[in-house]
Symmetry: C2
Subunit: 452 residues, 2 copies
Amino acid sequence: MEEIKPFELTREFADSLKGAIERNDDDFILQSLEGVNPADITETLEEFTTDESKHIISLLDTQIAAEVISNLEEDTLRRFLRVFSPEGIASYIDYIDSDDAADILNELPLKVREEVISSLSSDEKAEHIVDLMRYDEDVAGGIMAKELIKANLNWTVEQTTEEIRNQAENVSKIFSVYVVDDKNKLLGRVSLKKMLLARKGTLIKDIYDEDLISIKTYDEEEEVISVMRKYDLEAIPVVNMQNNLMGRITIDDVIDVMTEQAEEERQLMAGISEDVEEDDSIWMQTRARIPWLVIGLIGAFFGAEVIGLFESDIAAIPIMAAFIPLITATAGNVAIQSSSIVVQSLANKSVFQDSTTKRLTKVIIVALLNGILLAMLAFAISYFRRGDINISLIIAIALSCVVLLASLSGTITPIILDKLGINPAAASGPFITTFNDILGLAVYFAVAYIFF
Amino acid sequence: MEEIKPFELTREFADSLKGAIERNDDDFILQSLEGVNPADITETLEEFTTDESKHIISLLDTQIAAEVISNLEEDTLRRFLRVFSPEGIASYIDYIDSDDAADILNELPLKVREEVISSLSSDEKAEHIVDLMRYDEDVAGGIMAKELIKANLNWTVEQTTEEIRNQAENVSKIFSVYVVDDKNKLLGRVSLKKMLLARKGTLIKDIYDEDLISIKTYDEEEEVISVMRKYDLEAIPVVNMQNNLMGRITIDDVIDVMTEQAEEERQLMAGISEDVEEDDSIWMQTRARIPWLVIGLIGAFFGAEVIGLFESDIAAIPIMAAFIPLITATAGNVAIQSSSIVVQSLANKSVFQDSTTKRLTKVIIVALLNGILLAMLAFAISYFRRGDINISLIIAIALSCVVLLASLSGTITPIILDKLGINPAAASGPFITTFNDILGLAVYFAVAYIFF
């Protein structure tokens, strides 16, 4: 017995395929891809040019090709769609689940979209897709698929099994059968396990489970994620206001959303303004990075103006300048810590949230504690190195004020962004450090000014 | 027909429960919790004291209580375990899946652990748990559960259905039946859908699917996540070196791991050294934040030493000091951008990775482009504000050097950390900004020194 394991994707494999395309050796290509999981073919094609990919896709069985296409990353997909005719796209869409199909159609210009929809072989599919395209991308309706198995309350297990048999080709993954009444209102669900174990002739209404968790079409994707995660669900039915069964969301879509969100947050925290990866072009990388660098630069010039106000003081006591990075670095670190704690608690929204006053009081106490600890340490080190009690006092006082102010700004900024409908993680990035650099410098020199 | 929706958790509900505990009104508590999903009970108990929670748990049906306990967060769980006797814990463990059970036992002191295991009512469960506890937490063996349904190749569909019936209580979620030979070697799987649709008397060997993706007990959790995500799996079988079926990992466990990883990365990037949340105590928050603030502070004192070397220059040209934050802020921003791009590409490991030389060349070109753009801008602004060509030249030259060096250090650090087995996201935190602050200052003053 040979070992069963995921197909091993290698650069050699990709290169041998590329060679075969150049030689026009279609037999070799087909042989190489025989039995390879469509997800692996997709991963390989991500490395190929659009023309190479089109060649390979045209050789594949339509159903496999459809799966390969539906797995592509958004930007590769967009390039792909340009080289296929509307009829070509439609032939693949016939095999793609309605949620992925709607996503693909959303990438197309309006005219092509209409052509693709009118070329679809199934009217039901066309209807499903048009229905799904009405929803925003980030609500449950925009993530759900129309493919699901439902059974009427009064059906027998055999009737339901027959329905599964009829739909088997359309619905690839069945976790449970949703139970509806004559008006398509969602009543509950029956797991396949229960159906398998049921005696012959059993009615659905005698075995179905009423304790069903569902979600509304207009619920936000964060809500979908948190409900599915909390209740460990692999699929969740989606209903409209009237509790009519509209679709279902499966866990793999939720995982995709989670992955996207994690990447988006990482980019926001790092001050990268586009979805950019290491293998993107030099031009894309530069374009993604320059905006926040420029904003940081301009912020720093404002900082320079603040320092410039005290030029004569610095000339008199040049050692003042040596502690500028101490102030700005601490301000930045504290602000990022504070904002990330708030971002975390916004991500895991609890129903048992403390009041704003209570939360801010806590932030202030923590900030005072941290500030005093750091101030004492900074006082000790600077006095030990410089032996100037005035300078050390200024540093200690400025540092505790800066920690307090940076904590407050780091806490409040993500809350405000969230209220404005902006991803609060944006507050944990260069914006907050730039802002706190200027704030910190102002405090430092103000304290120094008062003291001298 | 009433609307079916997730149970609404509110503070009022929690308060009414707390009141009932004080009044010792057990009937009210039981009535309130009737039909409430265990995951919701868990969420409520997270807000209660350990004694209050113990009271509620003791009232619940053991199976529901077990589920409530297994959903608790790690630190709440740890507090809980202290107030139960080993026999009490064992009675719950009887109802908890082996993977969660092993996690719970890992929280216990060795002696209590042995007592709990010897008090378990099922020898098989005890064996399973002991087996699972041998694996590291972050490999497939440490995530998998022993509960699964397997069928011998030569069984009929009816025999397999009977096995499902027998195991129904132990295995809550069945996605597919794993097919093994007489030596427990994994051969493939049969979906429940296929079993339901199969004709009577069909042999498993005639309907099973050989194209099965499995994972090894010793594969790392990142590998588990990436395989399950790539192939859209809701469950994956885990095998040992000899391809014997050892357990299975379900998607809900993978989602938990993903959530944990996202939180860990956020904390690393923000320089928070413990898993701390907004509702944790003031003491915990301070303890989690102070280490990186102190490290940043000490780093800044090194920076101060660098600046101190040029004290007399600053006294002569005090405006030099005004551009210190410009240098340090840009160095930090560039380094964080670079490291986060590397962290991202380490997270989505591609088999088609470019060579190190090619990757570094690209980093250098992007850095030069960014550096030159920023330098030109900084030259223009500083000349416009100050009218001193020398100062503007120093800033421009220093800035482009700093962007280049910060790009390189931001790229290399996470790669080194990853090689050392440390989470590379640690390189996107205060460490990299502190390091680059010092580096930036050294470059800035060195350039200034050469020019004057």
